[in-house]
Symmetry: C2
Subunit: 195 residues, 2 copies
DNA sequence: GATTTTTGCACCTAGGTGGAAATT
DNA sequence: TCAATTTCCACCTAGGTGCAAAAA
């Protein structure tokens, strides 16, 4: 009656698949840009009383550089070196299993993607992830049974990867079909819709 | 070279004093209303490496009920019973002394005042404080040398009180001079300014 | 020249104000 | 009748969009 076998479901999977079929792009800017669709998961199967820390990060999906040519993404050489990535710790961590499971979802919408090497601030909570433009990335989600942030480095991670979330970082959209999907579904881009 | 004698300065003291001279009022609503001026302090004198938790709460200033009569606040009987108050833990807690001192200030602007007894959600982070209308209150600030939220109940609190922050909770402003000060200084009320 | 990045912008969402009228 | 509270609103701040032009 106290399981500890997390089941993780990606929120808005149908939308993610629509983007995935066309080759998702995410804009990176100097001041930081959110992901769309946003990264949100529903977690079940946790021990009710045990404490957990939830995290995400974004890692290189391969060691290639890409370019968009003839309406297609093509490999264009070897990847540039990656800057060290920091884990984005969900700000409500640590919390008990029942607290995580009772919420409508665990959302990482505040994370921002940037190409700005200079860290904006020495914030306690790291909101920015530095990416290379024209490179392919894979977001990951981690569940750690751990009640104390200080002990996080010594705890076992359980990692969940959704291929549907792979994307290529860009400073300006390349594929107009991706642009249109963003406009159609992101409420902040409603001003560019036709209807 | 590792002091542990916190010095706390109230931000925007001149503005607080302007309100204090006229008898500050704070609006409470069903959905919750922020304080204005907002509660922000600058902390120094902490041990650089020790971890601290920062908190605030709001307690009854006396055991009276008030009414506004002939342009003055007057005692109008004995206070209604207070609902138990919860500490509002600053969301960046715990953090090291140098992290707290390096920031421009420790801000509690997200706290909301309400007269709604039904707690809106079972949030991990408590944002709402329930107050009685027409009663006088005193906000307080607490510094706790403590590295673990779970151990907070067993740690020694150092409490700082600014009399300039005393206010009477209202559902609608009584003193028009207070209303005008709010309009003059709160950027969200700019629409009501004359100029 | 061609590609990639930056900047400023109009247009949105989201939410914090006190006023005025309605309600309790 | 009077005092206190609730509801809805226009008017703000704050900040997330892709676009177009300029810059690198």
């Amino acid at each position: 009656n106290e399981p500890d076998d997390p089941q993780v479901d990606l929120d808005n999977m149908e939308l993610w698949e629509q983007f995935h079929r066309r080759g998702t792009e995410m804009v990176i800017t100097k001041t930081g840009r959110r992901m769309f669709p946003s990264f949100k998961v529903k977690v079940s199967g946790l021990s009710k009383s045990a404490k957990y820390i939830m995290l995400m990060d974004i890692v290189a999906a391969d060691d290639c550089r890409y370019k968009f040519h003839n309406s297609r993404w093509m490999v264009a050489g070897k990847a540039d070196p990656e800057l060290p990535k920091r884990m984005y710790i969900h700000p409500d961590s640590p919390a008990t299993g029942v607290q995580w499971m009772n919420r409508p979802g665990v959302s990482f919408h505040k994370l921002k993607l940037t190409n700005n090497i200079a860290d904006p601030h020495g914030h306690v909570i790291h909101t920015y992830t530095i990416l290379n433009s024209m490179h392919k990335y894979q977001p990951r989600f981690h569940v750690v049974r751990c009640g104390d942030l200080a002990k996080l480095p010594y705890c076992a991670f359980r990692t969940y990867v959704f291929k549907e979330m792979q994307f290529i970082a860009v400073t300006a959209y390349q594929n107009e079909k991706i642009t249109q999907l963003k406009i159609d579904h992101n409420p902040f881009a409603k001003g560019f819709r036709d209807s």
